[in-house]
């Protein structure tokens, strides 16, 4: 089995960080709470997992915006809200000028075809009983679309576009490798010629060599078809490679957002510092010469997030104001336009590393203790 590599992406042009004109997607104050049963045997209180807690995000036509963060930060929930697989608790989502925040199934039907998703697991996101042809043509069937030349021809074009053999139309998903299955999922997402694709960890389940094939394929699609992407991933290097703008999430909030060059070369939020410092690099020199900023403990529970700044329990720079006041996500004079940080004491990496040296023992202990339990009760 050989996969044809048709994609050889040329560098994608970097649009301005905040593209002018009407954004394709405009998210304001987006909130999603999941109710859970609280502790106590007799009088159970309903508590909320505050998965997404007020985020603003806009995506210009043809732009790729990356969402990064660790598990539980709300990045996947955000993706599902944008594609309206989940009902938002609050805030607004505007797509191409239309408010789709609480649109009913019927209202959203014409827009659904323009917003598609690519899922993480190529094994569970394809129906094992359907042929590849049926899987890729099902979006056309659901939406009653009959392309010129028939659905079969269109499916074969799509398979070819994603680097699969069009003759494999009648095969079943189990006959394909993980990378090829992910290509099938991409072909399905392309079937309706979407303008926005929400890709939720599209390459995390794949081996390194295959991961690069799929990243290049997606990059080719973005360039050739002008599709905008919300690219959700925990791998900071992959996001940097794929997205022109990147938002870092922590406990349901965006803590820093910027053009990729600005974010990766001049991060200003202590959490971004921690996150970037933790990424292992394959170059032993780079890995040895890096300024390390440590993360103490784990992320606290999103049921009862820390007051004020949510990162303060693990932050080496935290002071009293951080517990009392939530820092807004705002621009900073010394940074490029569009680079916004939610921190009371934003600064370069070295400042955070320096603060860590003098971080008192008790605070480290407290951070470890705060994040220890995975169970809210």
């Amino acid at each position: 089995m050989t996969e044809t590599i048709s994609e050889s992406p040329a560098p994608a042009p970097d649009p301005a960080p905040q593209a002018p004109g009407e954004p394709l997607l405009d998210v304001r104050g987006l909130v999603k709470y999941f109710p859970v049963k609280g502790g106590g045997l007799v009088r159970r209180k309903m508590l909320n997992v505050r998965a997404v807690d007020g985020i603003d995000l806009s995506v210009a036509p043809g732009e790729s915006v990356g969402l990064v963060g660790e598990s539980g930060c709300g990045k996947s929930t955000t993706g599902r809200l944008i594609s309206r697989l989940l009902e938002p608790t609050g805030g607004s989502i505007r797509y191409d000028g239309t408010d789709i925040t609480h649109a009913t199934r019927k209202q959203i039907a014409p827009i659904r075809s323009q917003i598609q998703m690519i899922f993480q697991d190529p094994y569970s996101s394809l129906n094992p009983r359907q042929t590849v042809g049926a899987i890729v043509s099902s979006p056309m069937e659901v939406n009653g679309i009959d392309p010129e030349g028939g659905r079969k021809k269109r499916v074969q074009e799509l398979l070819e576009r994603v680097g699969l053999n069009p003759e494999h139309y009648n095969r079943f998903p189990h006959e394909f490798s993980g990378g090829q299955r992910q290509r099938i999922g991409i072909a399905r997402a392309l079937a309706l010629q979407p303008r926005l694709i929400v890709a939720d960890e599209p390459v995390s389940a794949l081996d390194v060599s295959i991961q690069a094939q799929v990243v290049n394929l997606l990059q080719g699609l973005q360039r050739d078809m002008g599709i905008a992407f919300v690219f959700i991933a925990h791998d900071l290097a992959v996001v940097r490679h794929f997205s022109q703008r990147v938002a870092v999430m922590y406990l349901g909030k965006i803590v820093e957002i910027a053009d990729r060059t600005s974010l990766y070369s001049n991060p200003h939020h202590p959490y971004t510092h921690t996150l970037l410092a933790a990424v292992p690099e394959a170059d032993p020199d780079k890995s040895a010469n890096r300024t390390r900023v440590h993360a103490f403990g784990d992320m606290p529970s999103p049921i009862n997030p820390p007051s004020g700044c949510r990162f303060r329990t693990r932050c080496p720079k935290a002071q009293d104001v951080c517990a009392n006041e939530e820092p807004p996500l705002i621009g900073i004079e010394t940074l490029l336009e569009g680079h916004r940080v939610a921190c009371h004491f934003p600064g370069p990496l070295e400042a955070t590393a320096k603060a860590e040296e003098t971080m008192p023992e008790e605070r480290i202990e407290a951070a470890l203790e705060a994040g220890i339990s995975s169970d809210p009760e």
């Binding site: 990243v215 290049n216 490679h241 060059t261 921690t274 996150l275 933790a278 292992p280 394959a282 170059d283």
Partner: protein
Amino acid sequence: MAASTETTAEQPTGKGKGKGAPEPLGRHAGAAEGGSDAFLSVRDLRVHFSTDDGVVKAVDGLSFDVEKGRTLGIVGESGSGKSVSSLTILGLHNREKTKIEGEIRFDGNELVKMPERKLRDLRGRRISMIFQDPLTALSPFYTVGEQIAESYRRHMGANRHDAHARAIEMLDRVGIPNPKTRVNDYPHHFSGGMRQRAMIAMSLVCDPDLLIADEPTTALDVTVQAQILDLLRDLQDEFGTAILFITHDLGVIASMAHDVLVMYAGRSVEKGTVREVLKNPRHPYTWGLLSSMPNLSGDVDIPLRPVRGTPPSLLAPPSGCPFHPRCDYVDVVGGDSCSTERPALTLAEGRGAACHLTAEDKQRIFIDDVRPLLG
């Protein structure tokens, strides 16, 4: 290169004893391996499973050494045989369906033919293992403390009270706050990172000489991964444990391992110190792995260069060099040696790559084609 002096430690240094060890099949002629320091020594290991579709050659002629106080990283993609080899060392394979050939020598003991009863004395006592997913590796029915104490009581004959005290000591050592309270918690009370710490405590409770870590951080977030890697390094410095570290992540290898073995289709294709393999790789597959990885500082406009095609089936691996159907340099070698002749991994001072390219070609291709992509 300062780091290369490390490798000379692998050469037999007049102790003589290890030099007499026969090299199986003569495939490792001139190898510095088999020195008397080698604490775990695997020679020409073959692990074949019979399945309904035929024989799966999961490991097909693998040799390596792990020394005390050092970490050997085995890197490879899914199906390269890296996990199977580690399970075989501990005898954790299905004995009825698995055919094992070759030698696994651990501190003078031959493990391949060792009876289960004797292996059980080694497992957890002298060789222990950290698995990828701490939630499935820990039992939900016992407290974390009971699970740590169990192996201490079994191997050290300690009583309940002493073993409990030992469990608290271990939890403290792996950085779990309030160990006296936490020792009575169940695994579901712990977060992912804390569970992995508990599992490390469990595997180190008897002060093992060899620790096998099979993707120990793959299920964790990067910040937690960094904490666990720091912990493993500190513990190694303190106890001089030999570590066999299995991962698919070259970044983790760079920060964790002293020596690296790259596996492909059940075989080792490249070996050397971490610096040699990552800074000056000599095998086209290693080039492919490095150039498919995006990094944090390189030029974003340089496209990734993936390895084309898909990994081979281990039921019917390709003839000759298993990598040849995906290799870009078959024409440089010329003739049909890549498709007919299996290249040997010939080691000089522990360094080598199993490839038919000449040393000059490898150097030239790496400098001209590969290095510019690495940022």
